[in-house]
């Protein structure tokens, strides 16, 4: 008939239960936390305050963090590093990248030559899942997922980033304390 086996308690256990040792132990712990929070000293045992005050204290994001995308530019010439190879778009599982290339004619050593350059780069951050496969696919270290993590906007259209936004960075309001 029995479904749960429960062993017979020893006298010590009985006494502990009789004097509600289990309850008082728990209450003692929460009291220690309460006192610890007020003094905020014993952080090793974890009795201090743990939370961060986010908008006023900004968290340190890890260097490898995958956040808002960015198109890097050559630091000297300020030209886009993107060679419009479309590898990122191919690597993207969500198909959220559109690389629109255009051919420009230029002369290299006097000879006219066509070169494929980037015209427009569309990155739909609302569909992006920040897996960083595009970043790994990029041969020129142009596309990068940065540590920027505040991506909220007021409209769905605002999630679709064009080349300008990707290169300059989106204007975002920083909250003050």
């Amino acid at each position: 008939m029995s479904l749960v086996k429960v062993p017979r308690p020893t006298l010590g256990e009985r006494l502990k239960r009789f004097f509600m040792a289990d309850m008082f132990k728990g209450m003692w712990l929460t009291l220690k936390y309460n006192v610890g929070a007020l003094t905020d000293k014993d952080s090793v045992k974890g009795f201090g305050i743990y939370t961060e005050q986010y908008p006023s204290v900004r968290p340190q994001v890890a260097p490898r963090f995958h956040g808002a995308p960015r198109l890097n530019m050559d630091p000297e010439t300020h030209e886009s590093l993107c060679i419009a190879c479309n590898l990122c778009a191919l690597a993207c599982p969500e198909d959220c990248i559109d690389v629109i290339a255009m051919d420009i004619e230029m002369s290299v050593g006097g000879k006219p030559r066509k070169k494929k350059v980037l015209d427009e780069f569309i990155f739909d951050t609302s569909r992006c899942m920040f897996c960083a496969l595009c970043q790994e696919a990029c041969p020129t270290a142009c596309l990068e997922l940065t540590q920027e993590f505040e991506l909220a906007t007021y409209s769905r259209a605002g999630f679709v980033w064009n080349r300008e936004m990707l290169e300059q960075g989106r204007e975002s309001r920083k909250f003050e304390a």
């Binding site: 008939m1 029995s2 479904l3 749960v4 086996k5 429960v6």
Partner: protein, 226 residues
């Protein structure tokens, strides 16, 4: 008793609200509304008790009737299907018999009231000058106030003169409670109960009242000791 000043204001407010709420109790379509009006009647009557200086009775009235009985009433009303009665479109007082009975009853009541007032008028008048009047004008007790006299009197008479009826009543109530629990409890609930005799279970299953699955479910809910 003569009403004066604010006392009379309070009296009329509560008396009228008791009457109106009482009327609404029988006139309301929704049973829950009707129960609520009954509660307001009871509260108004309790307030009248306070005006009479019987604070203990007032407190008990609210505690027992409003807090206990009416809560159970509401409990039951909420579980019973009241929608059928609500929907009825008959008008009130549309039956000759009902009206006749009501008029007869009111007449009886009025007659009884007048009779009682006539009977007690003399003694009431004589009392007022001494005991009752003094009690009414009793000022606030600031020091260690005693249990007010009516409280003591109620207790004393309950346990001294009314001990036998009191005990009989409590026995009756106890029997009623045990009986109703016994009647209401199904064999399934019996099985889950803590205090069930283990021998009952095979009997029940032999009588075909319980399936093995039910016994198992009950045992599951119960978590026996080894």
């Amino acid at each position: 008793m003569v009403l004066s000043g604010w006392e009379s204001v309070f009296f009329w407010v509560f008396a009228l609200s008791a009457l109106v709420a009482g009327l609404l109790t029988v006139m309301a379509r929704n049973a829950v509304h009707s129960a609520l009006f009954l509660i307001s009647t009871l509260v108004s009557v309790a307030a009248l008790f306070v005006l009479l200086g019987a604070e203990f009775i007032a407190g008990v009235q609210i505690l027992v009737y409003v807090g206990g009985v009416m809560v159970l009433f509401l409990f039951v009303i909420m579980l019973v299907n009241v929608s059928a009665e609500e929907r009825g479109s008959e008008e009130l007082f549309n039956r000759t018999g009902q009206v006749t009975a009501a008029v007869c009853f009111v007449a009886l009541l009025v007659f009884g009231l007048f009779y009682a007032v006539n009977q007690s008028a003399g003694s009431f008048a004589s009392n007022r000058s001494e005991g009752a009047g003094a009690a009414r004008l009793r000022t606030a007790e600031t020091g260690v106030s005693k249990i007010s006299e009516d409280t003591q009197r109620v207790g004393a008479s309950l346990y001294r003169y009314g001990a036998l009826p009191f005990e009989i009543a409590s026995l009756l109530l106890l029997v009623a409670i045990v009986g109703s629990v016994l009647l209401a409890r199904t064999s399934k609930q019996e099985l889950v109960a803590d205090d069930v005799d283990p021998r009952v279970i095979p009997e029940l299953s032999a009588a075909g009242e319980l399936t093995p699955a039910e016994i198992e479910a009950a045992a599951r809910a119960k978590a026996f000791e080894v």
